[in-house]
């Protein structure tokens, strides 16, 4: 009796405390976004609902919110696709071909993923500046792709490893080249894994801050995280309503993806964990 009571309490706790813990800040964000005055918790101020904050940030030309959104989506999508593709190529070679230094690739990439970004970004800035790539999308896409490679590689390797090598052998006997095998057989079979990878790298790139901060100085290539961090207000003082409105816009894409693909995302994470 004791134990089942305990179990019941645990479940109740989970059902109540977890969502509260996780979603409280967002609830707050929504409230402030849709309220005329951000300080409505003060006894003397009332809560008055309004859409004006959202309208303001979406339409104000000096804010470039749409540009930020566009940049974020573009950069994240391209780097996610590229990272997955390149990682797929490498994963294929690691799981199927014998060559000296085979273990070095996943291990090396793992080690590189632990490098602090700060020790990369300084010199990278100077490089980019000398190439005049600051404020170009390429300045972000290429590093993001590279940063996404470790994650992508480990997930793809674990997926490829589950595809029987006999399939390759059969295809080789049928006369296919390695590349053809990869594209016609392996990739289609590993599609769910590739999808997880794309999603995870997309999220990672979308959320990235330091590189975007250092490698962009105006809105042409700047991403949303930097945009919201830099936001000092549309007309001077810090208008929290506007900040929260931007926040709402900023998280919408990622939340949508999470809602639709949540199982894939969790699977991707799990692969990484259990394999690692």
């Amino acid at each position: 009796m004791n134990e089942t009571r305990l179990q019941w309490i645990l479940k109740a706790l989970a059902a109540l405390v977890l969502p509260a813990f996780c979603l409280l800040p967002f609830g707050w964000m929504l409230l402030v976004c849709f309220s005329r005055q951000p300080d409505f918790l003060l006894p003397q101020v009332d809560f008055a609902p309004t859409l004006q904050n959202l309208v303001d940030v979406l339409t104000d030309p000096s804010l470039h919110l749409m540009a930020y959104l566009r940049n974020s989506l573009l950069v994240s999508a391209v780097s996610a696709a590229a990272a997955t593709f390149f990682a797929g190529l490498s994963a294929y070679s690691v799981t199927r071909l014998r060559f000296p230094g085979r273990i070095l690739i996943p291990l090396g990439v793992l080690a590189f993923s632990m490098f602090p970004q700060i020790s990369i970004v300084g010199y990278l800035f100077k490089l980019m500046a000398s190439l005049d790539w600051i404020n170009h999308h390429a300045a972000l896409i290429l590093p993001y792709t590279t940063l996404g490679l470790p994650l992508a590689l480990w997930i793809m390797i674990s997926h490829f490893a589950q595809i029987p090598v006999d399939l390759d052998k059969a295809a080789l006997v049928d006369g296919a080249s390695r590349l053809q095998i990869l594209f016609r057989i392996i990739f289609p079979l590993a599609a769910p894994g590739a999808l997880s990878t794309v999603l995870l790298v997309f999220i990672y790139s979308f959320n990235e801050f330091l590189f975007a901060l250092m490698l962009t100085t105006d809105y042409t290539a700047r991403t949303i995280p930097v945009g919201i961090a830099m936001f000092e207000g549309l007309h001077g003082q810090l208008p929290w309503g506007h900040v929260m409105a931007i926040a709402v816009v900023a998280i919408l894409p990622v939340l949508l993806i999470a809602a639709v693909f949540q199982r894939r995302i969790i699977q991707g994470l799990v692969q990484g964990a259990v394999k690692g």
Binding site: M1, N2, E3, T4
Partner: protein
């Protein structure tokens, strides 16, 4: 006394897809103290569920269970003793050995939890290891052991506590045939020596007949018959039990075949066989010349089995198996006659499956 009494046990499951499933229904069982009781039935019949409920890992929907003079579970009285208070030991089909502990620690685990002293533990573990002949494996880890060795360790962990009740869930299923036969004998020997009330679950009816003092046959959560091995074998109460027990299985045929017999067979006072099914065990059938038998059939296949041989016959499109001594010689694709002693004929009601005779 460690008699186990199960009264009117019922277990329902709620599933998303198929609604409520009744895994066990109106189960009544008694296990005498020190007896070896076998629960046998096809996969999915609820036998493992029953075992889990006795152990306390699952809760029944209705009914009660007594171990000795303690009521261990009662839905009506809202009583439920968790496993650790029941003094029950269990061996799972997967053995469930703790992979991060060596054999000694695996076997010591329940004793450690119970709070025995170091010397007590050591003594009991060594005694159990002696009984199961695994003394030299005490330092090894489960991953290093063979299937048979793991099985012994699992058993050792169960007997080390000298429990009131021993529950075994298909413990021999994962072993190869040879090992299985030898382990069966050893299992019975150990159980006898310890005189612990035992419930053994299996899907293998040969095992059931060999091991059990008493057997219960279960199908789809419902008890079909309880009795001694001989009861079950010679006096099956319904069609299912008759067909389930015995290797090769009993030949079950439509009663209408009696009409098509070549000579009249007098079976008690049964005149109309049209609503019955008849059963004849392979060893009770005899081969004679085609015109002297009750029926005429064609010999399709001869399958030698050492000192016996199995004959597969075609009787008007139905397959019949006859078991006979290997010394008699037959020729395939020849017509033969089937004969039997009416005393060995089983008759079942076609609709209910119950045995009429």
């Amino acid at each position: 006394m460690n008699r186990i009494v199960i009264k009117n046990l019922q277990k329902d499951f709620m599933t998303l897809r198929r609604g409520r499933i009744r895994a066990l229904q109106a189960v009544d069982l008694k296990v005498d103290p020190g007896a070896f009781f076998v629960l046998v039935g096809p996969s999915g019949c609820g036998k493992s569920t029953l075992l889990n409920i006795v152990a306390g890992i699952e809760k029944p929907t209705a009914g009660e269970i007594w171990i000795g003079d303690r009521q261990v579970v009662s839905v009506a009285d809202k009583r439920f003793l968790p496993p650790r208070r029941r003094d029950v030991a269990m061996v799972f089909q997967s053995y469930a050995l703790y992979p991060h502990m060596n054999v000694h620690r695996n076997m010591a685990f329940p004793l450690k939890i119970a709070g025995d002293s170091e010397e007590e533990i050591s003594r009991k573990v060594h005694a159990a290891a002696e009984t199961l002949e695994i003394k030299d494996l005490l330092d090894a880890r489960p991953a290093e052991l063979s299937g048979g060795q793991r099985q012994r360790v699992a058993l050792g962990r169960a007997i080390v506590r000298n429990p009131r009740v021993l529950l075994l869930d298909e413990p021999l299923s994962n072993l190869d045939a040879l090992l299985r036969t030898s382990m069966r004998a050893e299992l019975k020997r150990i159980q006898r020596r310890m005189a612990v009330s035992t419930i053994y679950v299996t899907h293998d009816q040969t095992e059931a007949l060999t091991l059990g003092d008493r057997i219960a046959v279960i199908k789809d959560g419902l008890l079909q018959q309880t009795g001694s091995p001989d009861d079950i074998y010679s006096r099956p109460e319904n069609r299912f039990v008759a067909g389930f027990v015995g290797t090769p299985p009993m030949n079950l045929l439509d009663g209408g075949l009696m009409e098509k017999s070549q000579r009249k067979v007098k079976i008690d006072d049964i005149e109309d066989f049209s609503r019955t099914e008849i059963g004849l065990r392979p060893e009770h059938l005899r081969i004679t010349t085609p015109d002297k038998g009750v029926w005429r059939a064609e010999l399709d296949l001869i399958a030698p089995q050492g000192s016996d041989q199995m004959l597969y016959l075609d009787l008007s499109g139905r397959q019949i198996i006859v078991k006979t001594d290997a010394s008699r010689k037959f020729i395939e694709n020849k017509a033969v006659g089937i004969d039997f002693d009416p005393v060995n004929l089983y008759v079942f009601d076609k609709k209910s499956g119950r045995r009429i005779r």
